[in-house]
């Protein structure tokens, strides 16, 4: 592997007595030493996202003495973040993540320069932003941004230290088009929305991003120091429930549209559209056409229907753990994953109005689509799910 950093730059750097005391456990490692620590000091790392993965990444990279840490984040700290995003505490709720993170990281290590970027990463700003750094760490939470990070990394020649999590499972790799495969070599196309559940639907074990993010931080430090065997061309899978690591070999796809010798993709694209999240694509993917009965009902409309005594069936399509948190009284319960096998249980309700609901309104829309396709004439989805019901109609229903 060729060195990521120009060794001459590090040679010219100097460590202050304070830095030497702080980094002493690094300095006595022969693999790091004064030279390595100076490399870290002169390095510039860009973290995309300061959430579950970004928390351990930021904490460890700041502590390790990465000289300049850029952070791209535009979100606000929410109470539900605190179960896993250790950059923040109760006092950060409602604050900008970027500000709270910058304070915490500077407190961990005042020698680190934090460069806050209060923007949503986009096709317009990614290339310019990435060019200013030595490598990029992907701590994002959605497919459009993951493809954008990957593509912009390949186009700017930067390594992409990748980590991703879902429920109890994580993936880690280093995608670096110049040295090995990129994310598109493994996943040429994203799954259409609806086929892969998100963490907001499926949940995530709070410790998991801690483990996966720490592994990403480890890869960053190795790449900057030029030591060890970086995770290029390998995908590590982690299963928290079984405590198992598995390693898979990844090869560069000779037909990769991005990082092969003859790329067909040479500029950034519209990633929301690519991932099928544009409004028309989303509707098309879910087979939604304009019909007489709308697909969605608001929580206030539903409340009015119930108050009027309108005949309807409330169908809760969430998963069992969510049912244990809260429900709307009088609902039937049939989780979306079991719907194809158990839809016949609803045959007795043919002709009645069915109002499906879930947590946020995505799964119930799928359920409505599925049931209509099976011949149930009157099925609608509660827009915004039980969360909207709690906010607008019945505050006794706890939000989660």
């Amino acid at each position: 592997m060729t060195a990521l950093l120009d060794p001459r730059v590090a040679t010219e750097a100097a460590l202050t007595p304070g830095e030497i005391r702080r980094y002493s456990r690094h300095l006595i490692l022969p693999e790091v030493g004064m030279e390595g620590q100076k490399k870290l000091k002169t390095s510039r790392v860009l973290m995309v996202g300061a959430g579950g993965l970004g928390s351990p990444i930021g904490l460890y990279l700041a502590a390790a003495g990465v000289g300049t840490l850029g952070v791209v984040e535009f979100d606000v700290v929410d109470e539900s973040n605190l179960q896993r995003q250790l950059l923040y505490g109760q006092s950060s709720v409602g604050r900008s993540k970027l500000e709270a993170a910058a304070e915490r990281l500077s407190d961990i290590n005042p020698y680190v320069k934090i460069e806050p970027h209060a923007v949503r990463l986009s096709s317009e700003n990614a290339l310019e932003l990435f060019r200013g750094y030595d490598l990029v760490v992907d701590g994002t939470d959605n497919f459009p941004t993951r493809y954008l990070v990957n593509d912009a990394c390949v186009m700017t020649g930067k390594p992409n230290v990748y980590g991703s999590i879902f429920r109890f499972e994580g993936q880690v790799s280093v995608f670096w088009g110049a040295q090995g495969p990129c994310y598109r070599c493994l996943f040429p196309e994203p799954p259409p929305p609806g086929l892969v559940p998100s963490c907001a639907e499926g949940g995530v074990l709070g410790v998991l991003p801690g483990i996966i993010g720490a592994l990403q931080a480890n890869e960053v430090v190795k790449l900057l120091l030029g030591i060890g065997e970086p995770l290029i061309g390998r995908l590590v899978l982690f299963d928290a429930l079984r405590l198992k690591f598995r390693e898979l070999k990844l090869k560069k796809n000779p037909e990769c549209p991005l990082c092969s010798e003859h790329p067909t993709l040479t500029q950034l694209i519209d990633y929301e559209q690519f991932c099928g999240l544009g409004p028309s694509e989303a509707a098309e993917e879910m087979g939604i056409e304009t019909e007489e009965l709308p697909w969605e009902v608001t929580s206030l409309e539903l409340k009015a229907w119930l108050d009027d005594g309108r005949d309807l069936v409330l169908l809760d399509v969430r998963n069992p753990p969510e049912l244990a948190i809260c429900r709307i009284d009088g609902s039937r319960f049939l989780p979306l994953p079991e719907l194809p096998e158990r839809a016949a249980e609803l045959d007795g309700e043919q002709g009645r109005l069915i109002v499906a609901y879930c947590h946020g309104g995505v799964r119930s829309l799928k359920a409505a689509q599925y049931l209509r396709a099976r011949g149930f004439g009157k099925v609608v989805s509660l827009a915004g799910g039980i969360d909207a019901w709690s906010r607008h109609v019945d505050p006794r229903v706890p939000r989660y």
Partner: protein, 93 residues
């Protein structure tokens, strides 16, 4: 000939909650069809409506991507493990 298919977390709810399913199969394609046969609701997650394996479904035979071997025609032997590797992104719905 029994091979073990590892089901990733996102797909387990469509496979009766199973993490591993053993099937009798001679090729990767046979194994996936046998799996979909046992758990019909997995079908749309693995295949398009036209019955073609979805492009974002990666199947590894032991530690190698089946795409680098013979794809669905890749022969499998008893004791081989197949892993379906899903694209996972994280939090945003």
């Amino acid at each position: 000939m029994s091979v073990t298919i590892h089901i990733p977390t996102p797909l387990r709810s469509y496979a009766g909650g199973q993490a591993e399913v053993a099937v009798d199969a001679a090729t990767v394609g046979d194994a996936l069809r046998a799996l979909a046969g046992q758990y019909p609701s997995l079908t749309r997650h693995l295949y398009t409506d036209a019955g073609v394996l979805r492009s974002f479904v990666n199947v590894f035979v032991n530690d190698t991507n089946a795409r680098e071997l013979a794809g669905e025609a890749t022969a499998v032997a008893p004791g081989d493990s197949l892993m379906i590797i899903p694209a996972i992104a994280g939090g945003r719905p």
